[in-house]
Every structure is written in C-alpha cells, then in structure tokens.
Symmetry: C2
Subunit: 210 residues, 2 copies
Amino acid sequence: MDIKIPRATAKRLPMYYRYLSGLHDAKIKRISSSTFAEAVQVDSATIRRDLSYFGALGKRGYGYEVDNLLDFFKKILNQDHLTNVALVGLGNLGQALLHFNFHKDSNVRISAAFDIHDDMINTVQSGVPVYDVKDLQEQLRDQQIEVVIFTVPATVVQDLCDEAVMGGAKGIMNFTSKRLSVPKNVRVQNVDLTNELQTLIYFIEHYEGE
Amino acid sequence: MDIKIPRATAKRLPMYYRYLSGLHDAKIKRISSSTFAEAVQVDSATIRRDLSYFGALGKRGYGYEVDNLLDFFKKILNQDHLTNVALVGLGNLGQALLHFNFHKDSNVRISAAFDIHDDMINTVQSGVPVYDVKDLQEQLRDQQIEVVIFTVPATVVQDLCDEAVMGGAKGIMNFTSKRLSVPKNVRVQNVDLTNELQTLIYFIEHYEGE
DNA sequence: TATTAGATGATAATATTTTCACAAACTTTG
DNA sequence: CAAAGTTTGTGAAAATATTATCATCTAATA
C-alpha cells in the first residue's frame, strides 16, 4: 500500500474512482481499458499503466472487474472512512462550497466553518457550525481536522494558513491567488479560478486546433 | 508572437502576471528570478527558462524590469482587451462565480448568464443578464462569446456543451466531474473540486513529508 | 479440446519538463 | 576605469510522464 506512484497518476485516481462508481451504480460488471479511456478522456495505455502501478488488477483478454477495482480504489483513496475538512471564509465562494455536497460520492465532509463576521459566528449554515476565525487553531486541534479549505481574501490567507498549520493541518486547499509557504510536510493544492480562465483563453489564442 | 511554448509554461503565465501586477502596484521597479521564485513558489531556473521562451527579457546582473515584463505579459495574455465569457447554470457555484469579480485584475468578464429556471430568466443578476438556456447557441453566436463556463449538473453538461460548440464556443471551463467530448479545435479546462480535494487527501496520506 | 479474437501487463521508445551549473554580460562601487 | 559582485540565459543532464509495441493470457465458441 506504500507504493510510490507518479504524481500525474495520483491526480487521475479520483477521476477513475468517480467513473467506476458510476459503472457500479449502473450494475456494469466489467470494463476494458479502451472503453474506460473514452469515458474519462485519457489514453488507454495511460490507464493501463496507471492501474498497473498497483499490481495486476485486470485480467488479460477480459478487462477489469468493476467491483474489484472499486473496492481497491476505496481503500487507496480513503473512501472507506469519512474525512472531515474545515472551510475558512464564508464569502460567496465559501457559501457555495458549503452548499456543495462533497459528501455525495466522495466521503469528504465539511464539518466546521470559520468566519470573521459576528453575525455568522455561532450560527449553523447548511448544517455546519460556524466558529470565530480567531479560534481556528484551537478548533482544528480539538476536532482533529487535518484538511482546510481557504476561501478568504488573499491578503490574510498566509496568516490564517500559519494558524492552521499550528493547529495541525496537513493539507490546504487554497482558492486565493497568493502562493502559500508552508512546512514541507504540509501539502497545498491551489485552485485559482482566474488563473484557469486566463490559461484557457491563452490556449485558445495560441494553440488553435490541436 | 506565435512561438510555441510548453504547456507547463503556459499554465504558469497567469500566475506570473498576477504577481507582477502586485509588484507594479507596490511601485517596485525590478525583480530577480530568485526573489520571483520565492514569491510564486517555482524554481528560479524554471522562471528564467519560462521567460526566455519569449526572448531575452531580463538584464544580466540586474534582473527583470517589472513594467517591461508586465507590458509584455499584458499582450501575451490578451489582458489589453476585455474577454467576455458566458456562465451556464446559476446554482450555488454559478452564483458565486457571478459575484466573484474576475474583472478586478484579469480583464475577463462574465457578460451573459444562462439558467433553466423561469424566475431567473430575463432578470439581471449582479449586473449580468440571465437568458433561457434554450437560447444558448443563439446568444453565444449573436454576442460572439467564445468562452463558456459550465456550472450545471453533470447529467446535462454534455448536451449543453454540444449546443455551446454549435454556437461557436472555442473554450469550455467545466466544473462538473463529467469529462466532455468536443471537437479538437475546442479547448476544455476541467475544474473538479471533489477531485482536487481527494487528490489532496491522497497526497497527505501517501506522500507524507516530502 | 483446439482455435481465435480480444485485452492486459510489461517494457521500450518518446516526449516533456525540471534542474543544474556556468560562461557571458551587466551593475555597482571604490 | 577596473575589479568585484550579481544575475541572466542556456546547453546538458536528470527526472517525469506519455505513447507504442508486443508477448502473453483469458474467454468464448465450435
């Protein structure tokens, strides 16, 4: 279970998992890498390669057993237990994420929210308790939350991030454009929407037809 | 201006632009690749390499002139004119994006929104007119919009995407977990939040300390 | 049971991206 | 103006990631 697989592969795993879930729900029992490939828009050779890092999961001349694969991914992706995460910043985006049902097919749940505004603090929004952002460190520690999502202004995110790390955070999802500096045992995932959009536009202009 | 630069580089450009904007506002005149590197968390050699694809933009023994670089990036990233985009689906996430001010420092503006609900259609939300999603193709064509953001349920996104493409869309930003199939002259950028979060959790569990 | 079509797993070949390391070129200073 | 100190730009090497190929192996069928 401690195999080191390429990052690029790791990034594709949740997508694979998602698709397999769908197949399972549709009661489809087997899948070939080429069919799989078409659905998730990844080359079939890449899929076989990705899966083979974990050992021989498929049968030659047959394909992959959906339920097998799914069980396997469940363990690999920690989908067999619930992961609680904290959400810091209840502006527009924060609110949207709060409503957004991660739990649905991902076993990830926002279990605590933080904000700076008095009228929010100590209320319950979409079933999630809202705490004062001042108590971030303390609450993370008490609730043993290791994953934190930041939807706050870029100007304050580094300070809050430092707090979170002191509270024991191991994973940060950063929606601001500020790049965070963290100890190297902490992982940051940046989701910069403006960035993505600009990249998209750049590609349209400069890589036309490819 | 038609130099083919690596994709990996292209993805970093908006981030560079953003950081340079900040420097400009702070009236900082010069920047070295190593300082730059620390701020955006990219190796300095990578930055120098990235910039060098566009020619010799820096001065040896001195660094890069902020305003020079910025002007350059403005052109490269089409920041010298406004790009209008359409937003399809005004659920939680859609609403959040509508409020979200892309325009602020990016010259990208949501100029049309689409939804299926009667009570939304023909209203103006956050200054943006909302149309019936039935008219997607027609409106995109009329308004010459080439970039479309989808924040709709995964079950309908492919159909709407087909409509958009017929309406002339060249770039799609897809917030669903469904991978879209499009003609190859159309570019898709996937932003799958569940995916990102699961990847983050995977990395925390399996790549501890690195 | 023998045969064949189909599909994986493994390996090899490419392609891409990052990093290293240093000469060349510039700035600054005395 | 010369020497000392910086910093770029880039060739070469290393690290990552993708794609192609093919020798098996399985399932199905006659």
